[in-house]
């Protein structure tokens, strides 16, 4: 040990504590108020993500090994079911193609902007963030795959959430069931426009501020209305379970169940933004 210095030059522990606390607080304020920190965070995450991916790999292998040892009959049954399903889809698709061309024609006649076909990109959930404030997952597609922040994320059944942060080769999806998430929807039965919000639980959504006399009944299907420019039109979002009459507040409340299997899947679809083409299409 070197001889003790005659005068202490280092700062005392409380002084250093105060300094570090101030620095952290400043960081938090900057991060929550300004977008400046996003670039720093994004580039820093590029170093952490490969580590997480490597750590997750053995677990992925375990899952795949489990799939490998699935019973033969199970696979056959599933295959048969999938073939049937694909036939059903193919028949639907024929009608869809006809409708699509008709739609293009009608839109041309009405001079409406033509929504370019929405492209979907499959992504796999690689990590679920242990965040007590928000429900977020990390998927394995990022800016390199053309993902941008704000894109809607769906599964085979319905809406799941929205891309909120994009890194180079992964991105962060905020689930629809988080309390701060909301989606503009309309009632499929009568076109009533509503806003459905998360309730902090995977199997519940709610319409918080509902007119006392709104025409909404248990069993109604809510689909995206497409008026916010984020979610394209017509993605199923929720099924109404019950409508609570107003008690202390002047608003009624509808409890809904999400249609997308939130929290139960490993694969998701990231939709491309429905790009609005040139404002006016020439009439045909």
């Amino acid at each position: 040990m070197a001889h003790a210095p005659m005068f202490a030059r280092a700062m005392g522990l409380p002084a250093r504590l105060a300094l570090y606390c101030l620095a952290s607080l400043a960081l938090m304020v900057v991060d929550s108020r300004y977008a400046a920190m996003t670039a720093v965070k994004t580039s820093a995450a590029e170093f952490v993500y490969p580590i997480q991916a490597i750590l997750a790999r053995p677990f992925g292998f375990l899952n795949e090994a489990g799939d490998f040892f699935m019973v033969h009959g199970q696979v056959l049954g599933e295959n048969r079911r999938l073939i049937l399903a694909s036939q059903v889809f193919a028949s639907h698709l024929q009608g869809y193609e006809a409708l699509k061309s008709e739609n293009v024609q009608l839109r041309g006649l009405l001079n409406l902007p033509l929504p370019v076909g929405v492209q979907a990109r499959a992504a796999e959930i690689v990590r679920i963030l242990p965040d007590p404030f928000n429900r977020r997952v990390i998927v394995d597609k990022g800016a390199a795959d053309g993902v941008t922040a704000g894109r809607p994320v769906v599964d085979a059944a319905g809406l799941v959430g929205q891309v909120t942060q994009v890194y180079a080769d992964h991105s962060e999806v905020s689930l629809l069931t988080a309390k701060e998430q909301a989606a503009p929807v309309q009632n499929q039965r009568n076109g009533l426009r509503l806003i459905v919000s998360g309730a902090g639980s995977d199997d519940r959504l709610e319409v918080r501020y509902l007119d006392m006399h709104a025409d909404i009944k248990p069993g109604d299907i809510l689909v995206t209305s497409g008026i916010d420019g984020v979610y394209p039109l017509g993605i199923p979002v929720a099924r109404v379970l019950q409508v609570e009459p107003p008690r202390q507040t002047p608003f009624a409340k509808a409890i809904c169940q999400p249609i997308g299997a939130i929290g139960q899947h490993r694969h998701l679809l990231i939709l491309g933004r429905a790009e609005v083409g040139p404002a006016r299409q020439p009439t045909q």
């Binding site: 040990m1 938090m28 997480q52 750590l55 007590p132 309390k179």
Partner: protein, 198 residues
């Protein structure tokens, strides 16, 4: 003042001082453990491995694991979890400070007793973390995450046993009171002047 009862506590802090390699290695391992793909259902019950190991070193090797290291690890955790920058940094720094202040007292306890003394720090860290989130406009707080603070205190027990075994620290190495264990005292006299081998 008699020489039998020295004013400054005598005795080695550690027989084999914690090597930088061991401190860094255990901290890296703990940090990686938090990055494992833990299932979603247990994330609120998951102990904070990094914090537990960090506080162990704050107590046993305060010259290596001080406030600066706590802040660095906190920032790394913030980056990995994608939350608010500085949230973990602040709570880790405060926890390390609390552990450093408690250090002298903790040396008189066995591992279980130390875990009990540290439990309020772990719990308080988690509580402060959630409150900071509330303060910075994240209203959707999952209060179940408070359980992680208790889980961290429980995790601290096996972790401390393991690290004690790795560093060769035994519970005989109490430094206070100096006359309770003659072997330690004589050894402490031999190396008079330093607080412990560095």
């Amino acid at each position: 003042m008699s020489i039998d009862k020295p004013l400054v506590p005598q005795g080695p802090l550690l027989l084999t001082p914690a090597s930088t390699r061991l401190v860094a290695g255990s901290l890296i391992l703990a940090y990686l453990a938090t990055q494992l793909p833990w299932p979603d259902g247990v994330s609120w019950l998951l102990p904070d491995f990094t914090l537990a190991v960090l506080l162990y070193w704050s107590i046993h090797a305060p010259h290596r694991a001080g406030l600066g290291l706590a802040m660095t690890l906190g920032l790394l955790t913030d980056i990995a979890q994608g939350g608010l920058m500085g949230q973990h940094a602040l709570t880790y720094t405060l926890s390390a400070f609390a552990a450093l202040s408690l250090r002298r007292r903790l040396e008189n306890f066995q591992v279980g007793g130390r875990a009990l003394q540290l439990a309020p720090i772990f719990f308080g860290q988690q509580l402060l973390f959630l409150l900071l989130g509330l303060a910075f406009h994240r209203p959707d707080v999952d209060w179940r995450f408070l359980a992680a603070g208790v889980a961290t205190a429980l995790f601290w027990i096996p972790a401390a046993h393991l690290l004690d075994w790795l560093t060769g620290w035994t519970s005989k190495m109490h430094i206070e009171p100096a006359d309770s264990d003659p072997s330690v005292r004589t050894r402490g006299r031999a190396g008079h002047g330093g607080r412990g081998p560095r």
